[in-house]
């Protein structure tokens, strides 16, 4: 299967036709994508700033309640992102900005898995004001930096045509 086959698959879908014909879908998805981004980044800021020690007096257990918010917001962005790509697959699939954005999202996912499987349980036992372990801080820092990179790459897509 070539990249072009993937692009053709999306082009032939009914969603592609729908987005092309209905002028309001793209702006609506863009707006939802930005709202989703803000909720997700905000949730990650609460968790990551707590882990990094910048907001030590936020209860770690309570901060973790923002994980589902981040997941829901990410799902909104995944769906709206799918709509963007389906609207013009030949532009997105060959676009360097888009390709690197996807790579960074995969890295962010691996980092989140590492956090969940390796650090989450131990972090829940932290008292208010207690420092998180160094490894957890590295994960939190990577999380913030990777997501900022995702935002940068996402914004650069219109300017990074292959």
């Amino acid at each position: 299967m070539t990249m072009q086959d993937v692009a053709d698959f999306f082009t032939s879908s009914i969603v592609h036709k729908w987005i092309i014909e209905q002028f309001w879908i793209f702006p609506l998805c863009e707006t939802l994508h930005f709202i989703g981004l803000s909720f997700m980044f905000g949730s990650l800021l609460v968790i990551d700033c707590r882990v990094l020690g910048l907001a030590k007096f936020i209860s770690m257990k309570e901060a973790m309640k923002f994980i589902p918010v981040a997941i829901i917001a990410f799902s909104v962005n995944l769906i709206t992102g799918y709509f963007f790509m389906t609207s013009d697959p030949n532009n997105y699939i060959y676009n360097y900005g888009f390709q690197w954005k996807m790579v960074m999202i995969v890295i962010a996912g691996i980092n989140a898995l590492w956090f969940w499987l390796g650090e989450h349980k131990q972090l829940l036992t932290l008292a208010d004001g207690e420092e998180a372990p160094f490894r957890a801080k590295v994960i939190a820092l990577v999380s913030i930096l990777v997501w900022i990179t995702v935002i940068i790459l996402g914004r650069m897509i219109p300017y990074t045509d292959s």
Binding site: P27, F34, G42
Partner: protein, 154 residues
């Protein structure tokens, strides 16, 4: 008078740089997106907390996150002023832009109102009402911000 001022800003070195530089506009636009995610992220999570989510977090503990929010706001203020220079004479008369600026100002004031309401220990319902109003205002700011790309001047 206003038009002269807008055209002076638009045709000045900042406006010319923004329109003609290869990387100027994308770089400023990207900064604006990062700033937006930061300010709104802090505002949304605070409002969610006041509305009853993650009740175990002390609302005062959000003070530290406000520092991060202020950094985001500053990035957006600077990048917003720079973006405005690109088409000042158009944006100024666009209803979406006017509503966006109004929503941001109102949202900023509401953040202060929410925190004051918490500190004054107002009724939970009052605090939640202010938080809902604050979140709605910021949402209007995002929606109208996106609409600016699709709507011409009124």
């Amino acid at each position: 008078m206003i038009m002269d001022l807008l055209l002076w800003y638009e045709n000045g070195p900042v406006g010319v740089f923004e329109r003609e530089s290869l990387w100027g506009y994308p770089a400023i636009l990207t900064s604006h997106a990062i700033g937006m995610a930061t300010v709104l992220g802090v505002a949304f999570t605070l409002c969610m907390r006041v509305m009853g989510f993650a009740k175990g977090i002390s609302i005062q503990a959000f003070d530290k996150l406000f520092v991060v929010g202020w950094i985001g706001f500053f990035i957006n203020l600077v990048s917003g002023i720079l973006l405005f220079s690109g088409s000042a004479s158009t944006y100024f008369f666009q209803w979406a832009f006017q509503l966006k600026i109004g929503a941001i100002l109102f949202g900023g004031v509401m953040l202060k109102v929410v925190m004051n309401s918490v500190r004054a220990n107002n009724s939970e319902l009052t605090q939640k009402f202010f938080a809902a109003l604050c979140m709605t205002s910021w949402l209007v700011g995002v929606i109208t911000g996106r609409l600016m790309a699709y709507i011409t001047a009124s």
